[in-house]
Symmetry: C2
């Protein structure tokens, strides 16, 4: 049943050799890796306006310089990450770069920051996408949480089917959004020139004037607006993480795609911000209607087909921007798992050659965030960015060290010049992103970012503990210079409750393992049954001694564990092998009709040192089929010894 | 944690020998086994009045004759069951009597009827008890469901502690209720004689007059009222079931207790009915205030201490009447389990020498009923009685057959005369209860009794299926004339993923079992790891062949199962023993950090015929403590063979 459902949703398993098939051409890589930074233009402008409006209408004029600053940072970060693509063709996420150049602490900090931010990306993007829908169809607003969760589930399913298929399904909305945005700019210029461009629908809303004035307040508000606008930069590092998914030459194609993305994002962000200011669009606290939808409504006309197409494309790219994280998170988790910072389960590829466990965990946490924050974009966004800039800074710092090492080995002057150039870019990038990080931290920590920071700290220590645990186990099980001997002595115990076929078979099998000592053990829980068993034992003339252990409290498990412990105390280096005859039934519910003490016993014995548990199964309803001597037509072979010995 | 909680609630486990200690003297047996029939006088009168009121005020005069008929049936049934106590000193419930004398179908019908009715007894008694409380404190009415469930849980806990303790805790309310009821009669006579006994508080409530009139309607209404009044008879059979719990001479003490109960119940029922009619108390559809509380209010005076004491005693005996079922149900379930009609788990006595599983199941179903019927006594009571009279009838019929058999063997005239007397009583009882059953069925089936009938039919077929299943298994595992040979050939497979200590130890242990053939098996899920393993294998010079199975779909479990199946196809009579090196961790959550494929593999192999799974555990963080050759100070013994062979 579960299998059928899984096949329907996820598709048939793929063979490992097909992994090469899933490489991406540039035109598919752009939507897969860049929908996050491109789509964030849909809310970055709004966040700037919303923050500035806190100061009053007069502060809205700051939006253009603030947006300009954000655009500059974006350009610098893109330029920095292009260097990484070339330096780390096997995938140079902040974790890998930090680990190689800055050490474990920096690397784990970067990894924790990235993991938290991937979850945030999914939550913020999907919720913003749903805002685009509710801006067009305002009656859907009360169902925002449900719709958002639905989208997360959908994206997770698409990703579980495999990376190439998801690339194709995601190309259309991304390119539609880009095309329609530039079309909007063109229409705006034409209508503006002819003087028939109406103001935004919120243009005449009053804005409350605060009593705060003065230079410090202005600076703080601008800084906070800038920090909010920096949401435009999230996801830029996805490409440098995903270099191996590109077609050859991988680093070159990745760098070209990154540049394309940078140019598109800066142009669109600038255009939308200029239009929003020009049309006097106000950001509303509940984000509905969104600033970008107001702009589109003015330019294209509310209720026109193009307006609805634009909203659909916005919603499409925003919801799919989450896809960037669905590529990034599982990949990073797999690298972390390979390095033993996360459980091994994140390293395994699922049926469709994707890292299924990473996809599932990411979806789970994103859904929890969406529900926990009631799909409120303004609250969610406060948790964002801090992780992004932490990893940016560490990654750029790592690159600086990387180039320094390169310089130490390279002598060719042309090459050295090129490296120095790269190093300069990364140094500038590191400085700038560090500065932005300070601004983001200072302006956002009390508004909710503390939760993100707490999650990062938790993850950091969790990963360090996991790593230490694995190392300890590794050292413990390492078998270099260790030669095991055969067990000095094996004492076989066969558990018997009645003398039926399963019991006799267990006795025979135990005998076949030729233990040094062997005894049958029964627990006297019911006096009549025990007497019957003793009698049968004698009648059959079984020569294995039958030990009857009394159980005054009617518990079957403890007396056996105690007996085993006694044996082990007598001979601490010996091994006790416990043979458990076990009914195997055809349907799970038939287990309800059999005593489950065997299961409890096996569990307890697992934790008793020096014990090897051996299940001798007996299949109810079909045991005869060729399974050794219960075959009704089989005669005991001449060479097979009788059990009575 | 769970253990500590269990000890606190249930107490320390008792030794099996203490079973004899839990026998009951008569004065304790009465509250334990008879609180149900005695307490039902608290609602039987009300049910008669409620039904008659459907016809109109004029029909209320029928209540005295109807109650008289109920009283007569009660006397006959008590007389009948006294015969059973003597005939079946080891416990003669309807099931045992029917099985011995009427065959399996009748016995299972009786058992199903009883099991359903025990559940009903708990639900009805507890809910009525809560009505007694809400009649005194009417603001508690909205919390009836919660209070009822709480009482069920409480009674279950008391019973889990053991039968003797529960007897003591239940004696007080039972005797208090009896004493206060007779005190009420005395006060009523005195106050009535002096003419200062006020009418019931509902005396002046108008009763709607129906348009139905005439002989047939009167007869039908009287029949229905009679059927409702028969709730007074529930639980009479509990003593005959519980004869072994009495002190010696068991049958005599049981019969005496039964007679005592009969006398008390008839007197109290008659007295309350007469008083209710005399004081003109009306039954209300929601049962609040109850008729008995109105009577007590009139006689003792509302708000007096005695009134509250009486309500407390009523609530006490009603809630504790459920205890009768908590003695009956688990005992019957245990007998059924011993006869293999129910899962074996019901046969085992728990820590405190009671049948814990029966207690828990009973409590569960009663709670479901209370919640499902919203603690509405009028709806619940419709499901009642039908099971009681089914088992009454079958039990009496069985007794008739029993005495007939006795007559065939006994020759002593005095003894024959006595047997004939018993037989006559039982024949009369059987006829009367069968007639009542027809009346109850006809008048209640559409009012909800169909649900109880459906449950009985379901239980009947369930028990028959369980019995057939056990018989089939029994025949299959029976080892008479069956001598197992040693397995003709044992092929050992040792599962290896890496060459660490757990793997080497598994190899050594496999070698120690001296299989006919032995190979190590690894699944090539990760190419690099497989290559490393091969290299280590050669460097160590291990002479066990290492088989590498490819796994194109990265699944570890299926390739191994397929390999095992191949081996078995080649040699269907051989046994494949699969050695699984297994990490055993100290804390459950550490399992999250290890791959759980070993667990899945073991599960799959359990269902593969001809396979014996052998767990060779390795305890992380403490494996060295004397456990064979990982002892750091242990030198390989001279006689122990090296694994390299």
């Amino acid at each position: 049943m579960f299998d059928v459902l899984k096949r329907l949703l996820v598709g048939r398993p793929l063979r490992s050799e097909r992994l090469g098939d899933t490489l991406l051409p540039k035109w598919l890589a752009l939507p897969v890796f860049c929908s996050d930074p491109i789509s964030s233009v849909a809310y970055a402008t709004e966040q700037i306006l919303l923050t500035l409006a806190l100061g009053g209408a007069g502060y809205l004029s700051l939006s253009t310089p603030v947006a300009g600053a954000v655009g500059l940072v974006l350009i610098v970060v893109v330029a920095s990450y292009r260097q990484t693509c070339y330096a780390y063709p096997s995938g140079g996420g902040a974790f890998v770069v930090s680990k190689e150049n800055l050490g474990e602490t920096a690397a784990l900090t970067a990894a924790a920051a990235l993991l938290v931010d991937y979850v945030m990306t999914v939550a913020v993007s999907v919720v913003s996408g749903v805002v685009a829908i509710t801006s067009a169809f305002r009656s859907l607003a009360p169902h925002a949480v449900g719709i958002s969760v639905g989208f997360v589930v959908l994206i997770a399913l698409v990703n579980l089917r495999g990376v190439k298929e998801s690339g194709k399904s995601f190309a259309l909305p991304t390119y539609a959004f880009i095309a329609l945005t530039f079309a909007m700019f063109a229409v705006a210029i034409i209508r503006g020139a002819s003087g028939d461009l109406p103001q935004a629908e919120t243009a005449n809303l009053p804005i409350e004037q605060t009593t705060h004035v003065g230079g410090v307040f202005t600076l703080m508000l601008a800084a906070r607006a800038f920090a909010s606008g920096c949401t435009a930069l999230t996801g830029v590092e996805a490409i440098s993480n995903g270099v191996p998914a590109f077609r050859k030459p991988k680093p070159h194609n990745a760098a070209v795609t990154l540049a394309m993305m940078g140019v598109l994002a800066v142009l669109m962000f600038a255009g939308i911000t200029v239009l929003a200011v020009h049309l006097n669009a106000h950001a509303l606290p509940d984000g509905n209607p969104s600033v970008i939808s107001q702009v589109a409504g003015s330019v294209f006309g509310h209720g026109t087909v193009v307006f609805y197409l634009f909203q659909a494309a916005t919603a499409g790219i925003l919801v799919l921007a989450a896809n960037t994280a669905f590529n990034g998170f599982p990949g990073l988790a797999s690298i972390l798992a390979k390095d033993r910072y996360l459980p091994r389960q994140f390293y395994n590829r699922g049926d469709r050659l994707v890292f299924s466990n990473g996809i599932l965990i990411l979806a789970l946490f994103a859904i929890l965030l969406i529900i926990g924050f009631d799909a409120n974009i303004d609250k969610l966004i406060q948790l964002y960015i801090i992780g992004v800039f932490t990893s940016f800074t560490l990654s750029q710092l790592g690159m600086v060290v990387h180039w320094k090492r390169e310089l130490a080995t390279v002598t060719d002057p042309a090459r050295r010049r090129k490296i120095r150039g790269s190093q300069a870019i990364n140094t500038f990038g590191a400085g700038l992103t560090a500065a932005v990080l300070v601004v983001v931290f200072a302006t956002k920590i009390v508004h909710g970012a503390w939760l993100a920071v707490a999650a990062m700290v938790l993850l950091f220590f969790l990963m360090r503990s996991i790593s230490r645990y694995y190392k300890k186990v590794e050292a413990e099980v390492d078998a270099v210079d260790w030669d095991p001997t055969l067990p000095p002595k094996v004492h076989a115990l066969v558990l018997i409750s009645r003398l039926h076929k399963p019991a006799l078979r267990a006795l025979a099998f135990a005998k076949a393992t030729r233990p040094d000592q062997m005894e049958a053990v029964t627990v006297a829980a019911d006096e009549a049954e025990t007497r019957a068993l003793r009698k049968q034992w004698e009648e059959r003339g079984l020569q294995t001694p039958l030990l009857v252990i009394s159980s005054p409290y009617r518990d079957v498990v403890r007396p056996i564990v105690e007996h085993v412990t006694r044996l082990r105390t007598k001979d601490p280096r010996g091994v006790v092998s416990v043979f458990v005859p076990e009914y195997v039934v055809r349907h799970w519910w038939q287990n309800l009709l059999h005593n489950q003490s065997a299961f409890r016993l096996k569990y307890r014995l697992l934790f008793t040192k020096g014990v090897v548990v051996i299940n001798v199964p007996y299949h109810i309803g079909g045991a005869g089929e060729g399974w050794w001597s219960t075959d009704p037509n089989a005669k005991p072979k001449a060479q097979a010894t009788e059990v009575k010995a």
